[in-house]
């Protein structure tokens, strides 16, 4: 057990650090650029130097690095304020699916442009009536010669409006059990009949979209996997989603709560002297620290060639409610001012309120708390599934309530 790099790791870290030092964009360089342009510029620079998607094979635009090198790279890159976001879904979810299920011509055409950031992808899986029951989706695809005609609606698609391509699961046969009637495609987001509407959230922001399909045509050559095999293909995508979810030090963490507790007073002493405050911070520290070191254990496992398992679900299951509780508690520390959400009055406090308003999303996106607990019970502890009322039933006959 050792926290330090071994020799090989240290060498890799030095190489990465040197390149970053020479090439990471300065604040001046980024000044005035919009976020998307900045992100694309940085991604392209990494790609050209062989530092983009470093675990991918070199032929796809990667570096052929291993998991621990990826972690080292991430740590080093995090030392710089470089543009981030935009590429997570494409590189983290669409690309592994293309690698597993796509044909060589798909790899050649799409992977390098994913790696270089030239093309951005989004994910079109969720539907309003689906929710936790993802496979209950209703968007349908009907065959028409060499094409498929898509009609229906997707929801919770982040980045739909700036994406070039989307990965899509649709129902090609409603008369077989739900998992068996699905097929998986990718499509050009500029196709006629695709309409994108932003979804306003509790926070007031709109990071997600609804995407409507009206007679959208997709060539059959953009199908991944066989017709009816869509669920299996989607699982590849979803497994990579789970791997992408970190233990996550969201904005509101023990460090921030500690800072606030040092600034505000309870009974004329800093709140951090109050033992009720101390006990709460201690419990959250145990969670944060536990998640961090669980992450280190996973990294070690990865570096030994093991594949991260469903136990990573605990990151989200612990982190999301913790974020909500902590944001709520930080407001309590601020007392009557806790409700103020006004960056002009208190930058830190504004972040607390934003976090509280955003926290319910964290407890839902990528699997609700309840689904995460199911996953742990079933896949880690080996406990049986609930009885499935829709098992073996043609999708068209499954009860759907009022929806």
């Amino acid at each position: 057990m050792d926290f330090n790099d071994n020799k090989e790791e240290a060498a890799f870290r030095a190489e990465a650090a040197a390149w970053l030092k020479a090439n990471a964009p300065s604040e001046e360089e980024l000044a005035g650029m919009d976020e998307l342009a900045a992100a694309k510029m940085w991604q392209k620079r990494k790609y050209d130097a062989g530092w983009a998607c470093i675990r991918w094979d070199k032929e796809f635009g990667g570096r052929g690095a291993n998991a621990i090198q990826q972690v080292i790279w991430n740590q080093e890159e995090a030392k710089y304020k470089v543009p981030a976001g935009f590429f997570v879904i494409g590189q983290g979810m669409a690309a592994p699916t293309l690698m597993t299920w796509g044909k060589p011509e798909h790899h050649e055409r799409y992977l390098p442009k994913l790696a270089s950031g030239e093309e951005i992808w989004c994910q079109l899986f969720s539907e309003p009536a689906g929710g936790s029951d993802l496979a209950a989706l209703r968007t349908k695809a009907e065959r028409d010669g060499d094409d498929w005609i898509i009609n229906g609606q997707k929801i919770w698609t982040s980045g739909a409006h700036y994406s070039d391509y989307g990965i899509l699961v649709v129902r090609t046969d409603p008369n077989v059990p739900k998992h068996k009637g699905l097929s998986y495609f990718f499509l050009d987001m500029k196709s006629p009949g695709v309409e994108i509407k932003p979804i306003k959230q509790l926070t007031g922001g709109a990071n997600f979209n609804e995407v409507y399909f009206t007679d959208v045509r997709i060539p059959d050559s953009q199908r991944l996997g066989e017709v009816g095999q869509g669920w299996q293909v989607a699982l590849t995508t979803l497994m990579n989603e789970r791997a992408a979810i970190g233990g996550g030090g969201a904005g509101v963490n023990v460090e921030m709560a500690y800072r606030i507790a040092n600034e505000v007073m309870i009974d004329d002493k800093p709140a951090i002297a109050d033992s009720a405050v101390r006990a709460k911070l201690a419990n959250w520290y145990v969670q944060e620290s536990g998640l961090r070191f669980t992450g280190y254990r996973s990294m070690t496992a990865m570096s030994r060639g093991e594949i991260p398992g469903p136990e990573n679900s605990i990151g989200k299951l612990v982190g999301a409610p913790k974020t909500q509780e902590m944001a709520s508690f930080c407001m309590d520390l601020l007392e009557m001012s806790g409700a103020i959400w006004d960056e002009n009055l208190s930058k830190e406090a504004g972040l607390v309120q934003l976090t509280y308003m955003g926290a319910p999303g964290g407890r839902i996106a990528g699997g609700t708390d309840e689904i995460m607990a199911n996953i742990i019970a079933e896949r880690v502890l080996g406990m049986p599934q609930e009885p499935r009322m829709d098992k073996g039933m043609p999708f068209s006959e499954v009860p759907t309530g009022s929806n």
Binding site: P128, G131, S132, D133, A136, I155, W156, I199, K200, Q201, L202, G204, I260, E263, V264, M265, I266, D267, D268, A271, D274, A276, Q324, M331, D332, L333, L334, E335, M336, S337, G338, A339, I340, W341, D342, L345, S346, A349, Q353, Y356, M357, P360, R363, I364, A365, T368, D369, E370, A373, N374, E386, M389, D390, K391, M393, V398, P399, T400, G401, S402
Partner: protein, 372 residues
């Protein structure tokens, strides 16, 4: 022993609920939430016409002279409807302050205006982050002039006057000052809170003309007594909100299907909602005790109020959070009304002091009761 509302009070509840269903549907909340107004003036007008603002004000001051049991019934229904009006500031705080420590003249001047809704009162204690204490008050009052800055003041942008807690060099080191807000010595800035459906302000007092309310140097004790009374009324509003959030969660769960059956048939959801019900029920029962103590001016009021307040903070925040969770992704959208409760629950939970503040007050009251 009769630990229930009377038939007349139950009738009042029905009327209030019907009135709010008609006059405060979600569209009315949303209008304030989405717009620039700090409250719904039309609803406020109608509520005043119903006499709700006049409930406990004695008839001699233009009120209805009803009991606090009637007022808590109204408070619960306003909480259920997430009404976007300054009822808590004007009725639970300003009116109560005048009733408790106002002079005859002050009562004669202000209570009729409060009763009719023409005047909106509010209460100004906080001066920014952290728990107020008598030793960190920076707002001062001397020679009938108040100086300082109060933030946040609920409904401060629309209030006619504020009851301001100011430092004093006498007695318990504080005094309550009644300050009319439409004067040159007062400037106000709107302050956004996480509940866009309720207005808040920062108020700057710069030699603002003020009138002492209650005794000089008796302001801190008066403020604590006032918070006790308000705590019961806030608690009822919070319990109404908690109940509405539970009902909304239940209704949604019943109609939402996953894996071929209603999500309301899964233990994860059933036990979640059962937990909400339990918290709500305990909070409500404690609110009964609070209402009784408030109405009968019991020596147990401080303990009863803190108990009602702590329970209703916990119940309402929990219910609002788990209601969103039960709705899944839809609950996180602006389009769904879950947000009303989510915002309001947290706002009400810090408005007159947090859970931690009231837990401490509760044990202090318990110690005093046990010492007595």
């Amino acid at each position: 022993m009769d630990f229930e509302f009377s038939d007349e009070q139950e009738l009042l509840r029905e009327q209030a609920r019907g009135f709010l269903a008609d006059n405060c549907p979600p569209t009315v909340v949303r209008k304030v939430l989405d717009g620039d107004a700090e409250y719904d003036a039309e609803l406020w007008q109608k509520v005043a016409e119903m006499g709700w603002t006049a409930t406990v004000i004695p008839e001699e001051f233009g009120g209805l002279g009803l009991s606090y049991l009637e007022l808590v019934v109204i408070a619960e229904e306003l909480g259920r409807a997430a009404a976007p009006i300054p009822f808590s500031s004007s009725v639970y705080l300003a009116t109560e302050a005048l009733l408790a420590v106002g002079s005859q003249e002050q009562k004669e001047k202000w209570l009729p205006l409060l009763a009719s809704g023409e005047a909106i009162g509010t209460f100004a204690l906080a001066e920014g982050n952290g728990r107020p204490s008598v030793s960190n008050l920076t707002t001062t009052a001397a020679g009938g002039l108040v100086n300082g800055r109060k933030i946040p003041v609920a409904d401060g942008g629309i209030a006619t006057f504020a009851v301001v807690v100011a430092a004093s060099d006498q007695g318990d080191s504080a005094s309550l000052q009644l300050v009319e807000l439409d004067q040159s010595g007062v400037s106000r800035e709107a302050v956004r809170t996480l509940d866009f459906s309720r207005g808040h302000a920062a108020i700057n007092f710069n030699n603002a003309k003020a009138e002492l309310l209650g005794g000089e140097g008796a302001g801190w004790a008066a403020m604590e007594g006032l918070l006790d009374r308000a705590a019961v009324l806030f608690a009822w509003e919070q319990v109404g909100l908690a109940d509405a959030a539970l009902n909304q969660a239940r209704d949604y769960a019943m109609g939402r299907y996953a894996f071929g059956r209603s999500i309301a048939s899964y233990q994860a959801i059933k036990h979640k909602l059962a937990g909400m019900y339990v918290k709500n029920t305990l909070a409500r029962s404690n609110c009964y005790y609070g209402a009784w103590a408030l109405d009968s001016d019991s020596s147990e009021l401080a303990l009863a109020a803190a108990t009602a307040r702590v329970g209703s903070i916990q119940a309402s925040v929990h219910a609002a959070e788990e209601n969103v969770q039960t709705h899944g992704g839809m609950g996180f959208t602006w389009e769904f009304d879950c947000q009303f409760y989510y915002r309001r629950a947290k706002l009400l939970s810090v408005n007159i002091g947090s859970e931690g503040y009231w837990q401490d007050r509760l044990i202090t009251a318990y110690e005093q009761t046990n010492a007595a």
